[in-house]
Amino acid sequence: MTEPVPAPTTPATGGTGAASGAGVATAGLATSDQPIVLDAVSRWFGNVVAVNDISFAIGSGITGLLGPNGAGKSTLLHLLSGLLEPSAGRVLIEGRPAWRDPAIYRRIGLVPEREAVQPFLTGRQFVELAARLQELPDPEAAARRAIATVDLGPVADRTVGTYSKGMRQRVKIAAALVHEPPILLLDEPFNGMDPRQRLHMMDLLRTMAAAGRTILFSSHILEEVERLADGILVIHAGRLAASGDYREIRRLMTDRPHTFLVRSSDDRALAAAFLAEPAVFGAELRDERLTIRVSEFAGFTRSVARVARDAGVRLFEVSPTDDSLESVFEYLVSRR
């Protein structure tokens, strides 16, 4: 599922690189048997470079494609779904080029960002249409299952024109799921959903990922990605800023100090002891909170218990304060 990544083929943020994360890799692409492979892919529109020399491979599990609006997320998903030809490089779905091969649509389900659904169709008719175009043997039954999966049964016979934004998102997801594809590509899938629908959809995607599906979803909302994704791809201005597990990415940011919040039986004594450690270059005691700044994440976590024991101090809590996805994202984007 996860390929080891010694070094990024696409240079990510300085000192960061690509981290091995759930299902995301950027090395050994030429021989990768991952379901989704991008190999040195660029796409430009006239003078505008929307995607710039991006390489990665994605295996089963949930991967979040993260980036600000206009970063190139939709272009990337359109490349993956065969709706755009790469200007350079290769886009492979299960080893086959995505471009000009309608057969890949048996293997992928796409949820486009745009809400557009024929407004005169009922939800059921829309999903049944997808089932018929997938040439499924029993389109009605397949549509019923997909509609039930997204919890849209009670309104399935209303026309899509009367749906809320969240309902339209869900009916598009039902249509993408109707042929039970092993690969799901979702462009901003949670747009317009209320919190309950969002949680339900997240549970659904987790269940599908646990069943071995490869799910790639784009979002500009960090909280969504943080809660759902096993691995992330951070894209900014058309380039891959980082990929892998975001906590691992954070740890690889060696040019930026890591900050830990520590609570202990004697914070002052512990601060003095930490300052003698080579990896620690700052300790701050304020409002009975001890904050330690270290240069190396792993080295600190290995030594913290020993230092406390040697100083005769009991540790109550050690927690990284800047390990959130937001912190990682802001750092990566600010560096590009």
């Binding site: 929307a50 745009r114 249409l129 175009l133």
Partner: protein, 248 residues
């Protein structure tokens, strides 16, 4: 059977999209214009005017109303769906592209042809009357506009697949290529739907009908048939390399 079921599904959705909209009402008005004019002529002249039949049907229906109706239905059947994003749900399916183009051609061409044939028959009967000769001329025009509708729609489908400016280019084709250039550069008439329709009409109308001539002679059927097949194939091939038109 499966392919037929796919095309039936696409055709049904296309038909509902085209018929359920305001454009159909507008097209009814446009296609109804020759009938209304025919009624005025009939009332004003206190009877049919057989000598006005050919110029009226050719000048109004073949040259103006037919390309306009076909342009609107042809571009709406595909171009509008590509523009508003609904076509993505059909394009991202494992089906040959011709199974998308063909039902759209049948539906949009059928709607155009249906409206225009009714308009031709009613306006022909009002203007020319129900004499045997006039009925034969009207029938010839009805067949011509039916075939011309499908041919125009195939062109506009192909243009929609090729460019987001299908409507403008289609309009330019009907007005500039067929309207202006055909007069100045007779060679361009070989690539003119209007000329093929004139050829079909001249082949079916009584031999002594005045004013009916075409650079394709009586080979209108052949030219129209070959053009329809070639353009439909081109439209399918072009849709096979369709790329979304957005930058993000």
């Amino acid at each position: 059977m499966s392919r037929l079921s796919v095309m039936l599904a696409i055709g049904t959705v296309t038909a509902r999209g085209l018929v359920g909209r305001r454009r159909t009402l507008l097209m009814l008005l446009v296609a109804g214009a020759p009938v209304i004019l025919g009624a005025f002529l009939r009332i004003g002249n206190a009877g049919p005017r057989p000598n006005r039949l050919e110029p009226s049907l050719e000048g109004l229906l073949v040259s103006s109303v037919m390309p306009l109706v076909a342009l609107v239905f042809g571009t709406a059947a595909l171009g509008a769906e590509l523009d508003d994003g609904t076509a993505i749900h059909i394009l991202t399916k494992p089906i040959p592209r011709w199974t998308i183009i063909l039902p759209k051609l049948v539906v949009a061409g059928g709607l155009s042809a249906g409206l225009l044939v009714v308009s031709t028959i009613l306006s022909g009967a009002l203007i020319g009357g129900l004499g045997q000769n006039e009925l034969q001329i009207t029938t010839a025009f009805a067949v011509g506009v039916a075939i011309g509708s499908f041919l125009y729609v195939s062109i506009f489908l192909a243009l929609s697949a090729a460019t987001s400016r299908g409507l403008i280019i289609g309009l330019a084709y009907a007005l500039v290529w067929e309207g202006l250039l055909a007069g100045a550069l007779p060679g361009t008439q070989l690539l003119s739907v209007r000329e093929y329709v004139r050829g079909i009409v001249s082949a079916l109308a009584p031999p002594d009908t005045p004013g009916l001539s075409s650079v394709v002679g009586s080979q209108g059927f052949l030219y129209a048939g070959v053009a329809l097949v070639v353009i439909t194939v081109l439209a399918s091939l072009r849709l096979g390399v369709y790329q979304v038109r957005s930058v993000d």
